[in-house]
Amino acid sequence: MGALLDVSGLKVNFGHVEAVKGIDFALNEGEITTLVGANGAGKSTTLLALSGLVRKAGGKAVFAGHDITRLPSHRIVQLGLSQVAEGRAILTRLTVRENLELGAYLRKDSTAVAADFAHVLDLFPRLSERLDGLAGNLSGGEQQMLAIGRALMARPRVLLLDEPSMGLAPLIVQEIFRILRTLNEEGLTIFLVEQNVRQALRIAHRAYVIETGEIVLQGTGEELLDHPRVLEAYLGI
């Protein structure tokens, strides 16, 4: 079975610094794949490069048969690769409703958009209470939910998430991971970049560990949870 997203030899440079040094990974349809690693290992850079927000210095990315290596970011979104950026990138001066509606910016099937809107509110009931409030007044957890909801409004085939646990209380983190699992059970392919290694490995089918721009380990989520190197370096056991 071919992978839904296949990345090979991906390289990203920032000036003279090689942030990502030619990594390979693949996302299988219907699975949760995670890329974990420490601060500055190149996780976010990898995601930004996938979405076309950062220039790739080398390598190739093929998504559902399309070569997306050199595509501009709006075309990549159009193909079905939606990213929830780090720091949530909420439009704080717009209302929650407007944020969600902008998520469906590229879609013209208004009845399906309305259905997805209802579905997002089902997933995140807290958002429905604050639909007409400014997004900037939401709490951190609610903003993360809004960011995920907004990405879902594009009806993506793959959801890319950049550290959804960042700066959130443990309870909220658990809630968000539970929702990611639900979304996956509904058939959504998810690529999760995380520093919260334990949580990410628990829900992931496939996992990659990145260190200073290189993939150093890969396997199923369970395998890596028990891997001595992961235990020592990331879980502090």
């Binding site: 970011s73 709006h74 979104v77 990138a89 909420i90 439009l91 902008l102 910016y105």
Partner: protein, 289 residues
């Protein structure tokens, strides 16, 4: 009634120029509002106004073109220039874009200065037929406001808003950032060109000095002072900034000083501009309850 008509004739004879300038300045403020609405600080509008003024005036004087056609030329010429320079220049952000567009403005001024045979160089163009009537300005302003209001509520307008708040978020939603910025830049150039030609056919004379740095800053000030949250803001800002020196004329030598103080006070106490509905609600809502 007769007395009123006589009074009005007098009034119009004295103030018609000022009143038409109000409308033209409002157009200019709206032209820069368009780029500001998607978070782009481009200061080329004075240059676009100049290109429009010269294109329109030359069409009228050298080719006897009807006024409508001159105005069309005045909108087309700066749009084409904006399209050509927009692609490379709009890659820049923030102050760098402001610098680049200011530089472009200087280039336009120098080019006009040095093409004497066409533009009259430093002497400018003299004897432009005075075609601009009050209703031309009013109609132009009405059409521009209508188009911009429609645009603001359209998909494109929401994309502008998203780009202004967060470019990364906007592109992750599938907004084509470059195309939208270019659209705002080119449309703004067309409006500025229209204002330039209306002004040229009002003032009889145009020269390269009118479209330099000072004018660019004035256009920006009008928009920011009025408030860029809505379309009403730039119009109010243009009216305010145009009328203030006239109202203060009685102060003679102190005029510019007081003028400056009032501007500083407005910026200090109304940071979002003169037209700030949220603040009005805050002020008057309190009193009512």
């Amino acid at each position: 009634m007769d007395a009123f008509l006589v009074w009005f004739d007098d009034f119009w004879a004295v103030y018609s120029n000022l009143i038409l300038t109000l409308g033209i300045n409002a157009l200019l403020a709206l032209s820069i509002w368009l780029t500001l609405a998607c978070g782009v600080l481009a200061l080329a509008n004075a240059a676009f106004m100049g290109i429009g003024a010269y294109a329109g005036a030359l069409a009228t004087m050298n080719y006897d073109s009807p006024f409508a056609l001159s105005l069309a030329a005045a909108m087309a010429a700066p749009s084409l220039v904006a399209l050509a320079i927009g692609l490379p220049v709009l890659r820049l952000g923030g102050v760098y874009l402001a610098m680049a567009t200011l530089g472009f403005g200087e280039v336009v001024r120098i080019v006009i200065l040095n093409t004497d045979s066409i533009t009259g160089g430093a002497l400018g163009l003299n004897g432009i037929p005075q075609y601009t009537q009050w209703w031309h300005v009013l109609l132009a302003l009405a059409i521009v406001v209508f188009v911009l209001a429609r645009l603001q509520r359209s998909r494109t307008g929401r994309a502008f808003e998203a780009i202004k708040v967060d470019e990364t978020a906007a592109s992750l939603m599938g907004v084509d950032i470059r195309a939208h910025k270019l659209l705002a830049f080119v449309l703004g150039a067309a409006i500025a060109g229209l204002a330039g030609a209306l002004n040229a056919h009002l003032t009889f004379f145009i020269g390269p000095q009118e479209y330099g740095f000072d004018r660019g800053v004035e256009i920006l000030t009008m928009a920011i002072l009025g408030g860029i949250g809505s379309l009403i803001g730039p119009i109010i800002g243009a009216f305010f900034l145009t009328l203030l020196p006239e109202v203060l004329r009685g102060l003679a030598d102190f005029r510019l000083i007081v003028n400056g103080f009032i501007l500083v006070a407005v910026v200090l106490f109304l940071p979002n501009g003169l037209w700030d509905p949220a603040r009005f609600r805050h002020w008057f809502g309190r009193r009512r309850s």
